[in-house]
């Protein structure tokens, strides 16, 4: 089964290589992302599968917005090129590239290490995470416990991305010349489906965040779903006066909260002074509060990113 999915995976990637039509490109990308997510799930990593699915959806939305704006959905990417006649000369460069990549691939396959897998860390993590960090999900235990130092930087990158997107968007620089937003009609089907879907999204997001330490899911995945909920509402009800500045600011406050909690709980090693009766409560409280903060931060960050893109595009 896994093999079949992986073969499909490669095929869906190969299809994109010669593709030039924008809308097909986006659809193939969607399919690729979906297959990837399924493959992750089959490989025993539901957490990553969830994150990949959500990220795939977000990237697709971005690409669709762009493609629609720039080219119209039905046009080729290479639009003003006159279709060239087939010539051997034009094939030389791609052929050289193909040769290079095939050669590098062959070399890499030739030198694949033959040594066996060393599973020392896996064994240690799986047997010890329940007492060291708590919870039942080993993945959450690693990224909120053993490797929380990485997680801080990862969360920081999202903050940086939001700051950068705010700083670099063209819209702000050329605000004076911008035209008024054009009205987009919202179909009734969309409104109805969003009305049905959005409460489910909200409940699902909250569930993922609160149960991140026991089942698959966690702050990031739940945060992404929450962001999707807000984006759905925004798309349908078209609220134009969202105070996006304060959303961004909230995200920074949440980041500060995450850092402070981490410093107190993990870096200063307060766990050693907690009485034995309270350890379980203490661990769960730490995991849940971190998941909530990360979830809110991710939701805020992604909504700000999305809003920025849309507000750039709509004008």
């Amino acid at each position: 089964m896994t093999w079949g999915v992986l073969v499909l995976w490669i095929i869906s990637a190969l299809v994109i290589v010669p593709e030039r039509r924008t809308y097909r490109l986006i659809i193939y990308f969607c399919i690729f992302s979906l297959i990837t997510s399924a493959a992750y799930f089959l490989l025993g990593s539901p957490d990553v599968a969830m994150a990949e699915a959500a990220i795939g959806v977000f990237s697709t939305i971005f690409f669709i917005i762009y493609a629609e704006k720039y080219y119209g959905l039905r046009e080729n990417i290479e639009r003003d090129r006159v279709r060239k006649r087939f010539s051997a000369k034009g094939l030389i460069k791609p052929f050289m590239a193909l040769l290079l990549c095939a050669g590098a691939f062959a070399l890499a396959v030739n030198f694949i290490p033959q040594a066996g897998m060393d599973d020392y860390l896996k064994r240690e993590y799986l047997t010890r995470f329940m007492t060291d960090v708590g919870g039942e999900n080993a993945v959450t235990a690693i990224y909120l416990g053993y490797r929380v130092y990485d997680t801080l930087f990862e969360a920081l990158i999202l903050v940086i991305a939001v700051v950068a997107v705010t700083h670099l968007s063209y819209f702000e620089q050329n605000q004076a010349s911008g035209t008024s937003p054009n009205e987009m009609t919202t179909s009734k089907i969309a409104v109805l489906s969003v009305r049905i879907i959005s409460p489910i999204l909200l409940a699902f997001g909250v569930y993922l965040i609160l149960n991140g330490h026991i089942t698959a899911g966690g702050g990031f995945q739940g945060g992404l779903v929450l962001a999707a909920f807000f984006i759905c509402r925004y798309m349908v009800y078209r609220i134009d006066d969202i105070p996006i500045g304060s959303v961004i600011r909230m995200e920074e406050y949440f980041y500060i909260g995450i850092t402070v909690i981490t410093i107190i709980v993990v870096f200063l090693g307060v766990a050693a002074y907690v009485p034995a009766a309270l350890v379980l409560f203490y661990q769960n409280a730490y995991l849940i509060s971190m998941n909530i903060l990360i979830g809110l931060k991710v939701a805020g960050g992604f909504f700000a990113l999305f809003y920025r893109f849309v507000s750039v595009e709509r004008r």
Partner: protein, 119 residues
């Protein structure tokens, strides 16, 4: 098994070398990230059966550790996915900027205009 990810890695390298449009470049970049992530997740899974997720609700599960997926790569790839997406978002906003400036996202056209300006 890791042949698949290596294959996708080099396919996307080929795509990066040959693609004429920035949108496609960004897509291939995401492919490259995906292939590396898939490689990390597949590591250490030697049996053909699907492994169980590393969620231990009952200590008896730990008797056969070979059947459980390795949790460390999963935690690392979660980090890598979020980082990859943030970087992609910044790349896309630059793409937008360039499109506004030059009216195209073709590599060759933009490079020609750039060179004309610097001369």
């Amino acid at each position: 098994m890791e042949l698949f990810s290596l294959a996708l890695f080099f396919i996307s390298l080929f795509g990066l070398i040959t693609s004429k449009n920035m949108v496609k470049t960004v897509i291939f970049l995401m492919f490259m990230q995906t292939s590396v992530i898939m490689f990390w997740l597949k590591m250490g899974i030697e049996s053909t059966a699907a492994p169980a997720p590393p969620i231990i609700s009952d200590p008896n599960m730990l008797k056969d550790i070979a059947d459980i997926a390795d949790p460390l790569p999963q935690a690392l790839t979660l980090t890598a996915i979020i980082i990859g997406f943030s970087v992609t978002a910044i790349i896309v906003i630059m793409l937008n900027h360039l499109f506004r400036q030059y009216g195209t996202t073709e590599w060759q056209e933009i490079e020609e205009m750039e060179n004309k300006k610097s001369c």
